[in-house]
């Protein structure tokens, strides 16, 4: 590796790890597919291809232990083996995926990986038992693909040939699934084409790339008719289906249109008379479209995007600083003609900045499919371990979500899914007895809701029994017996997220849920998201994970309390009302306020203010948490602002009530409140204060 710089090597390795992760994901999926359809040679071949690629890549990076193991597996994997040994092969493939994963992890840490000897034994055991009978089961023939997807360049090449008066035929060939000598097949096809006429295009372009594909596409100029060509191309043992079509006039017209347009613009720019443009001239057509050949995707390190996003954040702060300065300028020189000019420039800048922010955000967005795909394997493994039969349904995979949020959600979702299978879904017999389908269903769904994305994790299992949850919570002293009867259904269910309840072993068997639920909640809180449950005993449960589209920038409502500046995310604000102290009543030791037909529980952010006179006006910010509303009592409203969230070090702020901070245009620091934490902490603290006060008296 001495001819590469250190940087280059580490870059290559990064690339390898990234693609290897994808390969393993694919291997997991293919392994599952293989388990379902061990007889399908195509599936076996896809597994083989993946293992092959992994082998090659890891060898290139010098990870010989991995590549040797992959090599062994690749050699063992044949359709015959899968036919003979059925699901056992899928088992080995899946456990290979796990072992490869471990090895990758070790390599990433520059550690020596495990030898994988166990896997090697498994592979060898698998092969040795099958050698005896040679199975000549022919895989059903496949159909040739009947559409041709030539690149722009290739289309032009074919049109050009057509214009020269050649009869251009496009040929699609399906390689015989039983053909295990792909390079030979390629050569044979090529020979056949050469006998028939002139080969204009042939994909794959060389015999070496043939290993990976099952379809050949070609375009030839030939004087033979379609049926003769089809007959000649049906090479025994090599090609099982042929589709021949004349590179048609319809195609040509379709393709030609945009290309000609392009020529028009190029030529018009060069200010040539339009009539001349209309008469198409070939060389320009070629030139124009080669330059337009699209290369549309590139991989970028997430950190680089984060850096850009961070800078955009700084720019937004810069913008508000500018706005501030200009409003000061206005106060001093309100009549200055420069005023209007400043306002215009500022408006323009704000618009561009908004677009810039949006575009960068978009870059960070990835479809949730990336996350959902991992669940196939999890569901299978957990279901197997618990003796359940479970089907996974996915919906809304194309919903986009910020990559970092997506990654953070992986663990809590896995928790939910594992719980749903082990505690939610009943054993097959139990299900049948309850008149349900034998198969339990886990469903993952994702969709947008305003500025949020909701991810649903639902099962059709036995559901959660609220009363048992509440009973347990009372037993454990998490809530008082008196409180218990005042809980709404949602609040009762939310108790399962309480750490005191959820880590207890028994509750899992009683209530059906609980392991690590507090962790799930914590993660969602950190993401400024929320979690809600809907459950029906005997019918199943659905968890709604609601997360913001992005983490970096939020719209917030700013207010003052005890002279300090705070903000709450605008998404959690329902409305703002004005009230007087006289309107506040006490019910059950809670301060409440009547809002139209509802009774609003109040949270006083500044407790000292309680001593204020009865007549003083106060502001109440109504926030919604789940299906409940609370009122935050604040001293003064400041306004709405787009805040760029800066993460707070734990050493700086040692309270969970604040989720982040931001800098305003004038340099003031504003603390962003975690509404959920504030309501649950201050709300409860207050009741307990009063209780203990009552006990003392």
């Amino acid at each position: 590796m001495s001819f590469f710089s250190e940087d280059r090597v580490s870059e290559l390795k990064d690339l390898f790890f990234e693609s290897a992760t994808e390969l393993l994901q694919a291997l997991n999926e293919q392994g599952l597919e293989l388990e379902r359809r061990p007889q399908d040679a195509e599936v076996v071949r896809s597994v083989r291809r993946t293992v092959h690629t992994l082998k090659g890549d890891s060898a290139a990076c010098g990870y010989t232990a991995l590549s040797d193991l992959a090599h062994e597996l690749e050699d063992a994997l044949t359709p015959e083996l899968a036919k003979a040994r059925g699901k056992r092969v899928a088992e080995v493939v899946l456990s290979a995926a796990d072992i490869f994963q471990d090895m990758l992890r070790a390599y990433r840490k520059n550690a020596e990986p495990s030898s994988g000897a166990g896997l090697l034994d498994e592979i060898r055991a698998l092969v040795s038992k099958t050698e005896a009978p040679e199975l000549v089961v022919l895989t059903p023939a496949k159909k040739a693909i009947e559409t041709f997807e030539w690149s722009e360049y290739e289309k032009i090449l074919l049109q050009d040939a057509g214009r020269r008066g050649l009869k251009v035929l496009q040929v699609s060939l399906a390689v015989d699934p039983n053909c295990n000598t792909r390079a030979i097949a390629w050569q044979m096809v090529k020979n056949t084409f050469q006998d028939l006429g002139t080969v204009l295009l042939m994909l794959p372009e060389d015999a070496a790339s043939m290993e990976k594909v099952d379809n050949l596409f070609a375009a030839i100029a030939s004087s033979f008719d379609e049926t003769h060509i089809a007959k000649k191309c049906r090479i025994p043992m090599v090609i099982c289906d042929v589709f021949v079509e004349r590179f048609g006039a319809a195609d040509a017209a379709q393709v030609a249109a945009p290309v000609v347009e392009e020529v028009v613009t190029t030529k018009a720019n060069a200010s040539l008379p339009v009539e001349e443009v209309a008469s198409e001239s070939e060389p320009e057509i070629g030139a124009a479209s080669i330059s337009a050949a699209p290369e549309s995707t590139l991989r970028v390190d997430a950190e680089k995007i984060d850096a850009v996003l961070n800078l955009v954040g700084e720019l937004i702060i810069g913008k508000s600083m500018l706005t501030q300065s200009i409003s000061e300028f206005d106060k001093k020189f309100g009549r200055d003609p420069l005023h209007a000019k400043f306002a215009d420039v500022l408006g323009f800048q704000a618009r561009v900045l908004a677009d810039l922010q949006k575009s960068v955000m978009k870059v960070r967005m990835v479809p949730v499919e990336q996350l959902f795909r991992r669940f196939g394997r999890i569901v299978r493994d957990v279901a197997k371990a618990c003796g359940r039969e479970v089907r996974l349904e996915l919906a809304g995979q194309t919903t986009d979500l910020d990559k970092s949020i997506l990654d953070t959600l992986a663990e809590p979702m896995a928790h939910l899914v594992r719980n749903a299978i082990s505690h939610g879904i009943e054993s097959p017999d139990e299900r049948v007895a309850a008149g349900k389908e034998r198969f339990g269903t886990i469903k993952l769904n994702a969709y947008h809701q305003g500025n949020n994305v909701v991810i649903e994790v639902s099962d059709d299992g036995r559901g959660i029994d609220r009363e048992k949850v509440v009973k347990k919570a009372v037993e454990r002293g998490i809530i008082q017996a008196g409180e218990a009867k005042n809980l709404t259904e949602g609040e009762a269910l939310n108790l399962i997220f309480h750490s005191g309840l959820s880590t207890a072993e028994e509750i899992t068997s009683v209530a059906g849920r609980g392991v690590g639920m507090d962790v799930v909640k914590t993660v969602l809180d950190r993401l400024k998201g929320s979690i809600a449950i809907e459950t029906e005993v005997g019918q199943g449960s659905t968890f709604y994970l609601k997360v913001p589209l992005t983490l970096a920038i939020i719209k917030a409502l700013m207010f003052r309390s005890a002279q300090k500046l705070y903000a709450v995310p605008l998404t959690s604000v329902v409305e703002i009302i004005r009230a007087t102290e006289a309107e506040i009543h006490k019910v059950d030791q809670h301060e409440v306020l009547r809002l139209r037909n509802e009774v609003l529980t109040l949270v006083r952010l500044n407790r000292l203010a309680a001593q204020a006179e009865k007549t003083s006006k106060i502001f109440v910010i109504v926030v919604a948490i789940g299906d409940r509303k609370f009122g935050l009592l604040v001293d003064k409203l400041v306004g709405e602002e787009e805040l760029v969230i800066k993460a707070l070090d734990h050493h700086l702020v040692s309270t969970e009530l604040v989720s982040g901070a931001s800098i305003l245009g004038d340099g003031t620091v504003v603390l962003i409140l975690d509404v959920q934490a504030v309501v649950s902490k201050l709300g409860r603290a207050r009741t307990q204060d009063i209780k203990s006060a009552g006990a003392m008296a």
Partner: protein, 145 residues
Amino acid sequence: MFDTLVRKDRKAIRYLVVDDSVFARKNIIKMLEQFGGELAGEAGDGCTAITEYDRAKPDVVLMDITMPQMEGIEAAEKIIRNHPEARVIMVSSVGYQENIVAALQKGAKHFVQKPVKPEVLYEVIKYVMGEEAVSMQGAAAGDAQ
């Protein structure tokens, strides 16, 4: 069990079988007889194959790849150079993929994998003969020897 495969002029198709193993040759010859073919010549090495071709002018050559003195590829290449109309089918195990590809590039018409399966060989010969052969029900042309 196979339809008889004959030339357009209803004469039996004539074969040259080249393999250094006598057993392999006999095996293939037996199959060819089942298709109603006629053995035009046999050879155990590449040199003999070339002279045998010149002498017998067979319709189809079945050529093994690994042989002493002159490899199958070289023999095939020389035959095709002298007789561009020659239909040479390479016979070999898969391990020699590169050699087979090379032979195909030199003009060999097809390839049959060892161990040779009669139904595969039949299809390949039929394909290689193309328009020049017709298949007939039963053993009608069997009397052509």
